[in-house]
Symmetry: C2
Subunit: 439 residues, 2 copies
């Protein structure tokens, strides 16, 4: 295993509020964060103060949620938000998600490479196939079969990389004296095409300080693993515990090996939600405060279903009754259920059990900075991951709490770098230089 001293951290910015649907209501936060670039910039600058390797924007081109009580989940536009941030930060990486299903390779290649040049080599592209029906409907189509989406994704990513490489290094001469702007022998069409897509090129954008953007990947089963193994330097993952995380990381690494790559070149970053306070009790109070901003009816019945017992909102401030405890069991299909069962059995109220985050998509630690660091260390040193994609519960103070309180502990323990390795995302991540298609 490679040296475990360079934990990779991606800070997720989302719609500007944090992952908790009540976060937009937190006193001291900015309810307008979604539309207010100043809020994004502030979060980005805070993350950069913590030497966090990259910002990360998940994205689905559709309004996936009812906004009556909660904000959107995606930014207004990830490329424009990261462009704003590029100019108001110096070092931090800028990773945006863009779908290979609902875009054209030329446009994607152009915008990411422009962002890479504008940011002096800090751009990354999370290439996803998007299986969301609402997104498909926005483009007048329906979700294609997995096979078709992934075949297209391969063509798409290869075209984008070929376009990136079509303006070769050293092509831009800028020889004012002799009037030679560029060497056209080094700027060539790609003329590549497949079953779904083709492009002629060249893309008239020179290399950035890191050559071309770093590729990320997320989800998609066996087909997704092939994308990861072939192209990705970073994988955004969603395991819930160390055994499943380890297993997933192993298959990602094996996929890289299958395609002739060094597995250390692919960093697996599980999503993780820290809720930080000075005591565990306060952290749980923070989470209950956030929960208090939203309707928990659905979550209570979801927890009941998870444990195989009927639960309704009226039960929320009581522990599970002794009779129901007899019937409660951990659903073997759901990695989150053993922990839920354990907390219920300790006699906690349902509200407290929920505050522990047992039914969230990603693992949650509600606790002190030490407890958060302990969680991260345990996963990291056991080889369950190469770092984390952090989703702050509420961003406005959650990012600074992580940066000011957790990062120093990780640094003291020798797990996280003390400063950026260089100026580019590739340097921060410790992944190899690549320009154009990998041959």
């Amino acid at each position: 295993m490679e040296n475990r001293t360079n934990m990779q951290i991606a800070m997720q910015l989302g719609a500007g509020y944090g992952i908790d649907s009540g976060a937009w209501r937190m006193p001291g936060g900015d309810p307008t964060a979604y539309t207010n670039m100043d809020s994004y910039v502030k979060l980005a600058q805070t993350a950069e103060r913590g030497k966090i390797q990259m910002l990360f924007m998940a994205d689905t081109p559709a309004l996936g949620v009812d906004l009556t009580n909660r904000p959107p989940q995606s930014p207004m536009d990830p490329m424009l938000a990261l462009t704003v941030i590029a100019r108001e930060t110096e070092r931090i990486g800028l990773v945006a998600t863009l779908s290979t299903t609902f875009n054209d390779p030329y446009n994607v290649a152009r915008q990411f490479k422009a962002l890479d040049v504008i940011s002096h080599g800090r751009a990354g592209w999370n290439a996803v196939t998007t299986s969301n029906q609402a997104a498909a409907a926005n483009f007048g189509s329906q979700v294609a079969s997995r096979t078709e989406r992934y075949e297209r994704a391969h063509e798409f990513i290869q075209l984008v990389q070929a376009l990136w490489g079509s303006w070769e290094e050293g092509a831009m001469t800028l020889d004012v004296e002799n009037g030679i702007y560029a060497n056209m022998n080094k700027i060539k069409p790609i003329n590549l095409g497949g079953k779904y897509l083709s492009s002629h090129g060249p893309l008239p954008i020179p290399p950035s300080e890191q050559g071309q953007p770093v590729i990320f990947q997320a989800g998609g089963g066996q087909e997704g693993l092939e994308l990861a193994g072939l192209y990705a330097s970073g994988v955004y993952a969603s395991p819930y515990d160390i055994p499943s995380a380890k297993a997933y990381r192993e298959v990602v690494r094996q996929s890289a090996v299958n395609f002739g790559r060094n597995p250390d070149e692919v960093k697996v970053l599980p999503g993780f939600i820290p809720s930080i306070a000075s005591t565990e009790h306060e952290a749980l109070e923070r989470r209950k405060h956030l929960d208090g901003y939203t309707d928990l009816t659905g979550k209570v019945s979801y927890l009941g279903a998870m444990l195989g017992v009927p639960l309704s909102f009226d039960d929320i401030d009581r522990p599970l009754s002794p009779e129901l405890r007899k019937y409660a069991n951990a659903n073997p299909q759901d990695p989150r259920s053993p922990r839920a069962l354990e907390l219920v059995m300790r006699g906690m109220t349902i509200r407290d059990v929920l505050a522990h985050g047992v039914i969230n998509y990603h693992p949650i630690i509600a606790g002190t900075p030490e407890q958060v660091a302990d969680f991260m260390e345990e996963w990291y040193v056991s080889g369950a991951c190469d770092g984390f994609a952090i989703q702050p519960d509420a961003s406005f103070d959650g990012v600074s709490a992580f940066v000011d309180q957790v990062i120093p502990i990780l640094q003291k323990r020798g797990l996280f770098h003390k400063d950026y390795e260089g100026t580019t995302l590739r340097e921060h991540m410790g992944v190899s230089y690549q320009y154009g298609l990998r041959l």
Copy 2:
């Protein structure tokens, strides 16, 4: 005719250098301007100092030129460049060209509305159909028939406007106390579709300070005129003289009337290239200096063809011989040829005739600030235009020369505003508020 005191000026930024292909070599300029956002920002801030209503980015998604001796013609990416500028300026409008042929309406609606919100109501979209074969090849297609391109453009623009309107005004409540983020009765799907395109929506972006971006249009004969009359508040045009400009403006205005609109709502902005110096002689020297950076062989023979006489590069520093003058005549198909003939007949050398800009795509005035202002005044007061889309010869000093020397004259003559009318592009242009589709 409306009051002629609010001349509209769009400053074109192009690839950052200016329209002259030798501009990148000018001493004092920035040869890296294409990739250097600081250069773009500086130009934008200079234009804003001059109260210029808007910046304008033409764009074709293809490398249309050989870069051996000259820079690209389009920016790396117009949306990203304008996003950078949005954050580093306060008032100036931000208009980008994006093709209706090589994009998806949802993506275009999203990026322009995000830019509009980020810039607090300063975005504009120049919707073009792009008849360029190199562009088509970058998207794996061929140039479709004009009919098809314009049918698609109608559907495209209507879908974009409908998506813009799908998040109604007042939908975003941000009621922290009661936990009401938005009123979902005011955020509705559009469910619109046509022959080529459809989209479900909604687009989850609230209105900007100007509601939605301003629409521009350029080119395309009768079909283009229909687009202009139906949707555009600004038309980028390329007439060469006052009679043709007047005629073109009249048909644009008539097209607006045909579609039930007030013709004053459509501003026609011909392209115009000022070359400014303290004397006419110096201005011509400036142009000859710029010409000296490029190979004029092609231009000399082009001039010969225009006048119906054989000319070669060897003739460049001589006037036309008396014998050839007998044969020279103004090609009636080319509005630029009478002026070319006149200058030739005055006995100027070919180099000097070319320096007057007689074969450029847009009219050129090489002269003093007064001469430039005189030209603009004559066109404007005679109703040949509503303003201009300025293409500086070389931007690095051409924009500031225009702002510091020409603008004050236009202001003194009461032709150009002394300050911005408000904070939004619609206010600067004096065009009506519109939100969603015009019904």
